[in-house]
C-alpha cells in the first residue's frame, strides 16, 4: 500500500464525488455532516469505498461509509487502518 497517501487529495475526491451525485448541492461539503443527511444514496455510499480503495491500493469493505458516515470519521478510520498496515508490514 501507499504509505504516503495524500489525505487532502482523498478528501477532495470524496467531496467532489458527493457534489457530483447530489442535485442542488452548492459545492461545499461539511466534513461532519453525514452522507445520508447530505442526501447520498446507498450506491453512493459504496462508491466512496471504491474511491478510498483507488487511493490507498488496499481492500476496503464496501460498507465502510455506512459505518463511518462523515468525511472526518472516515479519515480517522483510514488513519487507524494505515497505522495497522504499517505495523503489520514492519513485523
Amino acid at each position: 500500500m501507499n504509505k504516503s497517501f495524500c489525505k487532502n487529495t482523498l478528501i477532495n475526491d470524496i467531496s467532489d464525488y458527493i457534489v457530483m451525485r447530489i442535485e442542488g448541492n452548492n459545492g461545499e461539503i461539511q466534513r461532519d455532516i453525514s452522507f445520508s443527511r447530505l442526501g447520498l444514496d446507498s450506491a453512493g455510499h459504496v462508491q466512496i469505498s471504491a474511491i478510498i480503495e483507488d487511493h490507498m491500493q488496499i481492500d476496503v469493505s464496501p460498507t465502510v461509509a455506512f459505518d463511518h458516515p462523515t468525511i472526518n470519521s472516515l479519515i480517522k478510520y483510514i488513519d487507524e487502518l494505515t497505522i495497522a498496515h504499517i505495523e503489520e508490514a514492519e513485523l
Binding site: 442535485e23 455532516i33 447520498l40 444514496d41 450506491a43 462508491q47 469505498s49 480503495e53 464496501p62 460498507t63
Partner: protein, 560 residues
C-alpha cells in the same frame, strides 16, 4: 441418471443423487473479490454439511417449524437453506440489517412468521444482538439463536418431507405495515426448476450465478437452486462487492465461464456507468454468457443497447439479452426467452395505451418484450374490474395458474383468497394468482406495461410510497396527516425520486430549512436506504390534493 431425475419429486433428492454419482464435482464457489479469495464446496462436501445441520435442526425439534435465515452472502447460507429443505424445516431467508431501525422491520416479519429460531453466523449474531438492544418496544422475543457453534453428535433418521409441504417463505412483497410472506412448497420449487431449465435452455452441469442477494427470489431460486438442481455449479459474490466494483461481476462470468447470470436493469446500467475505460479488462471474455437475464424491474432498451455497445468488444453477444418476467408468488420465472432472442420492442400509441388499448405506432411508447410465456403456466389477461378476459388488443391484469404458483401468504387468509384464489367471471373452475401487473400478450410473448397499485421499483426493490411517507411524517417537525408525498418524476430518460414534506407552521418559521431537509434525508436513509433526488420542505397546504383529500402525485412531480 437423467431418467431417474425426471422422476425427482423433491429438490433435495437431486442433490443427494449428485453427492453419490459426482461427489467431487464443484457445487458452489463463493468469490468475494479476486480469484485467491474463492471458497468452494464439492457436492460431497456440500451434502455432508447439509446432513450435519439437518440432524441438528431435527434434534432441536424444528421439523415443520419456521426459522429465519439471517446470513451474510456466503456458503453458510447455501448449507443452512438446503438443510432446511432436507429436514422439513421452513426457512425464511432475510436480509442482515445494518441498524436497529431496519431490524425493527425484520422483527415485524419474524413475528408475522412465528419464527422459533434465527440461524446465523456467530459474528452476525453479535451485530444483531447489539441492534436488538437498541429497540425499545416492550415486546418479548421468544426465538432461539443457532450458529456454527451449535452442533449435535446425535444421529437420527430425518422425518419424511412431502412434495406438498411448505418449503420456505419468501418475504419480498407487501408494504412494511403488512408484510406478505409467500409460501412456496417443495413441488413449487421443482416445477419452477423445470420451467427455468426449459425457458433458459439450461443443460446438465450448467455454470450459473452472479451477485444477486441469496435472500431474494431471483438470487435464491434463479442463481442458487437452478444450477444445483442440474448438477452444475453455483458461482457467486456479495451484492455489495458488485456495487463497489461492477467489473467484478463480469470478471466472475468470464473466469468461471458462466452460462446464465441475471440482474435487474440497474445492474447493467451500473456496469455502463461505472466501469471506466481505465480498468484493465484485457482478459475479459464474455462469449460464454448466453443468458444475460434481465428481470425484477422494467427493462430499458436504451440501457441494453449501451451495455451491448460497451461490452461487445469483450465477446458479449447482444442476442444473449434475456428479458424476463416473474415474482416470488410464482416461485420465480413466468416468461423469458427463447434462448438467444435478444431484445424486442413494440412501439405503442401513447393515447391508446393510456386508455388500455394496444395500438402499434411508428412513434410512441416503447414496451420491451418479456419473452415467451413458460408452458408451465396458464396466463390470462383480465379486466381487473369486471373480471372478464380481455380481448387481444386490450391491456389487462396478468393472471396466472400453474404448479409454480405458490400456496398463498403466510398467516394471511384474506390476502391469500383475494390474490391467489381469483376466478374469472366466466369460469369458476380454475383459480388464478392476481399479479397486480398490467400487460398484454402477442404471439405467446408477454409485454408488461405497468402496475395497478402504486409501487416504486428502485434498484430492483419494491418500495411503497406509503411506507416512506410514514417515515417522513414521523419527523417531529412534520405536519403529519397526509402532509407528505413521495413520488417519481422523469428527468430525461432517468426516473428520479422526489418528496414534498409539509412542516408545521410554528417550526417552519424557527428551524433552518436545510437542517430539516438533512434530518429527513437521514431519517429516510436509516430506515429504507434510499435517498431523494429532490426533497422539498414546505408550508402546510402546498401538496396538491383531490377534492377527497388524496395526494395527486403527478401534480407533485410538476411542482418540483
Amino acid at each position: 441418471m437423467q431418467k431417474q431425475l425426471t422422476n425427482t419429486t423433491l429438490f433435495m433428492d437431486a442433490i443427494r443423487k449428485y453427492a453419490e454419482v459426482q461427489p467431487d464435482h464443484l457445487a458452489c464457489v463463493f468469490q468475494p473479490r479476486a480469484i485467491d479469495t474463492a471458497q468452494q464446496l464439492s457436492y460431497q462436501q456440500l451434502y455432508q454439511q447439509i446432513e450435519a445441520r439437518s440432524q441438528l435442526m431435527v434434534s432441536l425439534g424444528y421439523h415443520n417449524k419456521v426459522v429465519a435465515l439471517l446470513y451474510p452472502s456466503g456458503l453458510d447460507f447455501v448449507i443452512n437453506f438446503l438443510a432446511c429443505l432436507n429436514s422439513g424445516v421452513i426457512a425464511v431467508p432475510l436480509n442482515v440489517t445494518r441498524n436497529a431501525k431496519q431490524l425493527e422491520r425484520t422483527i415485524d416479519i419474524i413475528e408475522n412468521a412465528n419464527v422459533c429460531a434465527i440461524l446465523t453466523t456467530e459474528d452476525t449474531k453479535i451485530q444483531l444482538c447489539d441492534q436488538l438492544q437498541e429497540i425499545v418496544d416492550g415486546r418479548k422475543h421468544n426465538f432461539a439463536w443457532l450458529t456454527e457453534q451449535n452442533e449435535t453428535t446425535l444421529s437420527q433418521s430425518l422425518s419424511v418431507v412431502k412434495a406438498s409441504d411448505i418449503a420456505f417463505i419468501q418475504y419480498t412483497s407487501g408494504s412494511t405495515s403488512s408484510p406478505k410472506g409467500v409460501m412456496v412448497s417443495h413441488s413449487n420449487i421443482v416445477d419452477n426448476m423445470k420451467a427455468i431449465e426449459l425457458s433458459c435452455g439450461l443443460q446438465k452441469g450448467v455454470v450459473l450465478g452472479g451477485w444477486l442477494p441469496q435472500f431474494h427470489d431471483m438470487g435464491l431460486i434463479g442463481h442458487m437452486l437452478s444450477p444445483l438442481y442440474l448438477g452444475g455449479t453455483y458461482i457467486f459474490m456479495p451484492p455489495m462487492n458488485f456495487i463497489q466494483r461492477p467489473s467484478r461481476w463480469l470478471q466472475l462470468i468470464s473466469h468461471y465461464r458462466i452460462f446464465c447470470s441475471a440482474a435487474p436493469n440497474f445492474g447493467y446500467e451500473h456496469c455502463v456507468k461505472l466501469i471506466s475505460d481505465r480498468e484493465d479488462l484485457t482478459d475479459l471474455d464474455l462469449s460464454c454468457w448466453k443468458v444475460a437475464l434481465n428481470g425484477s424491474e422494467p427493462v430499458s432498451a436504451k440501457t441494453m443497447a449501451a451495455f451491448a455497445q460497451k461490452f461487445s468488444p469483450y465477446g458479449f453477444n447482444v442476442q444473449s439479452f434475456f428479458p424476463s418476467y416473474g415474482m416470488a408468488e410464482t416461485t420465480l420465472l413466468v416468461s423469458g426467452g427463447p434462448l438467444q432472442s435478444g431484445i424486442s420492442v413494440l412501439n405503442l400509441d401513447k393515447d391508446s395505451l393510456s386508455k388500455g388499448l394496444v395500438t402499434q405506432a411508428q412513434v410512441g411508447v416503447d414496451i420491451v418484450c418479456c419473452g415467451e410465456i413458460s408452458p408451465h403456466f396458464t396466463l390470462k389477461i383480465v379486466d381487473p374490474d369486471t373480471l372478464q378476459e380481455c380481448s387481444k388488443n386490450q391491456v389487462g391484469e396478468i393472471w396466472l395458474n400453474g404448479d409454480s404458483v405458490a400456496q398463498g401468504y403466510l398467516n394471511n387468509p384474506v390476502r391469500t383468497k383475494t390474490d391467489f384464489q381469483a376466478m374469472l367471471a366466466s369460469d369458476n373452475a380454475k383459480q388464478y394468482l392476481r399479479t397486480g401487473d398490467l400487460g398484454f400478450v402477442v404471439n405467446n410473448q408477454l409485454y408488461v406495461t405497468g402496475r395497478i397499485k402504486e409501487v416504486l421499483i428502485i434498484r430492483g426493490r419494491n418500495l411503497y410510497p406509503y411506507d416512506i411517507e410514514r417515515t417522513c411524517n414521523s419527523y417531529p417537525y412534520a405536519n403529519g396527516g397526509n402532509g407528505t408525498s413521495v413520488f417519481t418524476y422523469q428527468c430525461g430518460t432517468e426516473t428520479k425520486l422526489g418528496a414534498i414534506v409539509e412542516i408545521n407552521k410554528r417550526f417552519l418559521a424557527t428551524i433552518d430549512e436545510q437542517v430539516m431537509t438533512q434530518d429527513i434525508n437521514a431519517l429516510v436513509f436509516a430506515q429504507h436506504e434510499i435517498s431523494f433526488d429532490k426533497l422539498l420542505v414546505t408550508r402546510p397546504g402546498t401538496i396538491p390534493k383531490t377534492t377527497s383529500g388524496k395526494v395527486k402525485r403527478a401534480a407533485c412531480a410538476t411542482l418540483i
